[in-house]
Symmetry: D2
Subunit: 276 residues, 4 copies
């Protein structure tokens, strides 16, 4: 007899998971996570954090440990970056989402984080999944670039099975033959996940498209598809960013996009969902 998976709607009696992040109820409240790809300096992080908060974001993202394709690319500021994030949280009140990439660091990194991120390249790093499963902190689990929905949910299961129910899924684009975009954003995964699982699911249009110009339309599409949140790369000065500049919004761009996102989200929940 097949085991009923913990991630399944069957297992939760059709009840949807709400992940509480410093009072934001992800799965009910809309999670608008924004911030720089990498923490580069205190100034860059604080300025960006203040700007995204002003624009309507309710969480701050920023990487202190960066998994980079080449060993010669900037690898992140490490603990110094985490301390900067803590300071940004203090100044803005925004909870912090940051990535962990090594089992040895999972414990102490999660002390600094409000949400611990598992990146796409580590989706099937099962040791790391078990480690964040042992810690109570909310986990943002990105979908691997070539991962099926079933495999992704089984990775969530690794975390749930260790006793941590606070898993937020994040679609960030899959690898296809298309070259115009960096990856192909698979928005149909959003309602698909919701019909088999009780876990909340958000969307990262920045890594998926790799293009500034596509982030707004794909953010709006994600909202209409039913996503529980968005994670968007913003830098107070993208031209200076050490990574991902082509896909990073300025505070001005983000501000306009955020207004549209929040207006559409409001329209969808207040008006559209009651059309019958």
């Amino acid at each position: 007899m097949a085991r009923v998976k913990l991630y399944s709607l069957e297992s939760s009696g059709q009840k949807r998971t709400i992940v509480n992040v410093s009072g934001i109820e992800v799965g009910k409240d809309f999670a608008l996570i924004a911030g720089p790809c990498s923490v580069e300096s205190e100034k860059q992080t604080i300025l960006t954090a203040l700007a995204v908060k002003e624009a309507g974001a309710n969480m701050l993202r920023g990487g202190a440990f960066k998994p980079r394709t080449s060993p010669y690319s900037f690898q992140g500021l490490g603990i110094k970056g985490l301390k900067i994030l803590a300071k940004a949280r203090e100044e803005t009140g925004l909870p912090v989402v940051t990535e962990v990439i090594d089992t040895r660091d999972a414990g102490w990194v999660s002390e600094f984080a409000d949400v611990v991120q598992i990146g796409a390249r580590n989706m099937q790093n099962f040791s790391l999944l078990k480690e964040v499963g042992k810690i109570g902190k909310p986990v943002l689990l990105k979908r691997g670039m070539n991962s099926t929905m079933a495999e992704w949910l089984d990775c969530a299961e690794y975390i749930l099975a260790e006793g941590n129910p606070n898993v937020i899924l994040c679609e960030r684009g899959i690898r296809t033959f298309e070259t115009y975009t960096r990856n192909t954003l698979d928005l149909s995964i959003v309602p698909s996940v919701k019909e088999v699982s009780h876990l909340p699911v958000i969307v990262d249009p920045s890594h998926a498209t790799g293009r500034q110009s596509l982030i707004e339309p794909m953010s709006l599409a994600a909202v209409a598809a039913g996503a529980d949140g968005l994670m968007i790369e913003v830098h107070y000065n993208p031209a200076e960013a050490l990574s991902d500049k082509e896909q990073t919004l300025t505070p001005e761009m983000f501000s306009r996009t955020a207004r549209k996102i929040l207006a559409l989200r409001n329209y969808v929940t207040e008006s559209l969902n009651s059309v019958s």
Copy 2:
């Protein structure tokens, strides 16, 4: 020096193409195309046509020539099917979108059609593209399942270069490793096409997802992404459909979905696009 392609915004002086289909200005008016996968009988087609019109569709789709994976599957009613479509148009006033699959038939099939469809499997059937390019009728050009945007637009170029400017692009899902959905709907192609080309682009969520339950959320997402229309499979009794039953809506389902689509489209054009 590279030739400026006819499909490009550069070539049209940034002016967007409007394709006039019996008074519906595709590219400006929202095209809501619905109907059965295959024309199976007069009763089935007329009943479905009346139902989708009632629900708000402004064009009727239906295949008389069906490109099927197996030679032993139902191949369509041929000319008999076209006559049924003509009758449905007469009864409902809806213009008809139907596929042509053979260069020898392009001429006379287009006499019955208001929009001639080139299917995904024939996207790079260059002889057929040239043939529909020679005919003035609007052409709906579906994206091939493994086609890049650049290749797709070059196929549109084959039609434009023959003197037919009336090309409507249609995203219908690409082939990836994901197995939960029939294909992967690539909604980022919608704003991508719009930033390089002046052609209108619509979305077919039925073939892309292959699942009834995903058609509404992906239709709404397509609207939010800026699509100029949708093409949705509807059958007055999906259980009896000779093809694609898993992805075909009942008139009741379509009616509810169409109301949401049109409400959202209205919200996007009337309110959201003016947020700044």
Copy 3:
């Protein structure tokens, strides 16, 4: 009850198909097909044909109708090209493999050809498959760039079901995310096809790899995997070729590669297959 497909080993009582091409028994004899991508001139075609014959090829390839991504690329010489191919056959005795891309041309083009090729982009052009099925000539059916084995074999079924048993399959690379090669050559399809079907299967390493330097190792690998033949692009002067120059061998390169191919094929059939 599922129909037993004509392509299946079950249907043939485990007997393998031999396709007779002017005395060459494809499926038993090794088919070494070489020649230019496109027929460009009489001189180019005859010189190349003489060279590949000298090097050991037993069939000549050359396109008179070229399916090209852009309408502004060279589209082939048409009937003039077919006449040049006929002349090259006369001079060398090599049977000719050439592509047909339009149902209207299938009849008369096949008069010039010893083997009629269906290209990858037309694999699911079902009208064209039926047309070449009605003609008795051997058909070389290339695998579509995103075609599963099951879909490919169903396309062969279209031809077989019309009464033409002379189908030769040709793997030519599939589309993946890898960018170093033009496509990804899927050699595992060779023994896979052989365990479900009685049809012979050959390999085109030129289109699959897109690189001169990879053609020899992949040709040898195809022989070891059990392929019934190879189709290789050769031009007496690749630098002048109007298409595909990066993947086209010179006669000198082909001569060396052909010697290795034939030596390995001999070793495999004479010695290796009797190791037990």
Copy 4:
């Protein structure tokens, strides 16, 4: 100026790397690695090791830490498995290839291993790559299922940059839309790697094809393509295997396949490479 990568032929002055594994010079001697997917018991491992040695294998593979899609699948015997592998090495003299999946274990696991394997799912676990880079032991680096050649080589660079030059690459199939095989074996990567890098590259046809029947033809194809070795799953009784039984050979099958592999390798190096 772009940095010259340590993996490049340019960096090594065109000299190819030889990795010495207990006297076997990988890159010159052919590496025939065989054994069970997972170490399940002392009896299973020793019996299999004796059988593969008898058949001509010169290294033993076996997993003690298994990265499994589901948390409820067998996860390996851990240290007990490593001790069994050590005993099998003692009894047969075969050096041992085994996987490490956690940075915390890299040090002590490598004490038991002659070659430390990084699995496909951990290819971009950069922390783990750095860890095995700090240890002198030879590393077998599997290609990720959706990894380009460039990304794979950059992962090798992570190891080389830490001072460990002993990297052996292993192609194990990539993820495509084809469903007949478990993955698609990309043999063109073998000569591709060799034209840009000095590192040896071997092939795993077991995971790539997922089918017993395809392992022999794809092993022979890999040899003909120039692979420096093969890694094949063998179990003294596949029906009892706790993982991967469909793709695991019996000792009898492996014995016949190994004879062919070694005969072909000998023919290629002794005869075919001198054809000119």
